[in-house]
């Protein structure tokens, strides 16, 4: 899998979401943010997944995940509790990644050496299900196919697709985090879905 730069967006601080949440949720979220190792245990893998499949660079994903969690922990007072921690962290990860990709050091190392995702290795992590070996094999092939299709998408399409279908964010949240119009997000999603469904043979 080749590496690519993530879509860059004009982000300041991660904006607050307009989703109403109860005070209890807010208290729970804030207490989650108090223990950095617990925070990492719960969210690190998700951040790595998001960044790795957005950029195609698993080593970079680990760096970004670490910086994201540290930044979230150090700035936990800024978390207003009006969105999920996962959404908040994704927004921070996008900011960290964008800043990282601007540095000369990143540009240099990207030219010299950048890691790539081994799709075959990744597909071997498909959790064992109760289905038949044939179904498992088919599912593994589908996973590889989907990873392959993601590579062919534009940076915007890929990032937004992952935010929607892997991070399970609402279109409005994606729009808010990326500072992008809802209609633009929808357009990118439509194009990404058309390409993915076409490649997976899922078109009617």
């Amino acid at each position: 899998m080749s590496t690519y730069s993530v879509a860059t967006f004009d982000l300041g601080a991660v904006p607050g979401m307009e989703i109403e949440s109860s005070e209890t949720d807010k208290v729970r979220h804030i207490s989650e943010l108090d223990d950095i190792d617990a925070l990492a245990r719960k969210y690190r893998a998700r951040i790595i997944r998001f960044v790795a499949y957005s950029t195609g660079d698993p080593d970079l994903a680990e760096t970004i995940a670490q910086d994201t969690l540290l930044r979230a922990y150090n700035g936990k007072e800024n978390f207003r509790g009006d969105c999920s921690i996962s959404t908040w962290l994704t927004g921070i990860a996008i900011n960290v990644l964008r800043n990282h990709q601007r540095t000369e050091r990143y540009k240099f190392w990207k030219r010299v050496n950048s890691s790539a995702i081994d799709v075959n290795e990744m597909a071997s992590f498909l959790p064992a299900q109760s289905s038949s070996p044939e179904s498992q094999l088919l599912a593994r092939e589908k996973v590889k196919q989907l990873a392959g299709v993601l590579e062919t998408l534009s940076n915007n399409q890929r990032t937004i697709f992952l935010m929607k279908f892997s991070e399970e964010m609402e279109v409005a949240d994606i729009s808010e985090v990326l500072g992008m119009q809802v209609n633009t997000v929808r357009t990118h999603l439509h194009r990404a879905l058309t390409a993915v469904r076409s490649q997976l043979g899922a078109k009617i």
Binding site: D37, R46, I48, R49, A52, P127, K142, V143, L193
Partner: protein, 167 residues
Amino acid sequence: MTPEQSTHLSEEAFNDVLIGLGTPESDAHLAVCSTCSNHLRQFRIDIESFNETTLAWSEARPTASLRATRRSKVRPVMYSPLGWALAAVLLIAIGIPVRSHYLSSLGRASVQAPAPEDTQAQIAQDNDLLRSVDVALNENEESPISAYHLSETPHPRQRTRPELRKP
């Protein structure tokens, strides 16, 4: 597809359903159209497999304690002035004696006159002197044989090796 269904969801309507922006019409269609609902279900299964697999892949990547990382990131900021001060003190403590030793040894070397290099003539002269000393010594030296009035030829009855006596 049920017999009363003549068309399926359009590409856009299908994508809208996947995005979560389905309309009541598309929901009604999915309720009766097995083809569209199967496609929808299969797509969701594929996405779910992808998410589970990639998450398991991410979880398998080595982890480092963020608490330790955070401490190590904080330490340089807090202790760097102290570290630099310590390094400077060490440099002065080691550097000054080394420097003074170097300078003094340099001074001593400049005081000592360099040894003159031997010329061929000097070597020849030395060799002549050594030879004459050697000759003079040989002439003056008395042979131990002559000093004790010994003959250089062995006596005919003199046994070179003692014989063993029989008991």
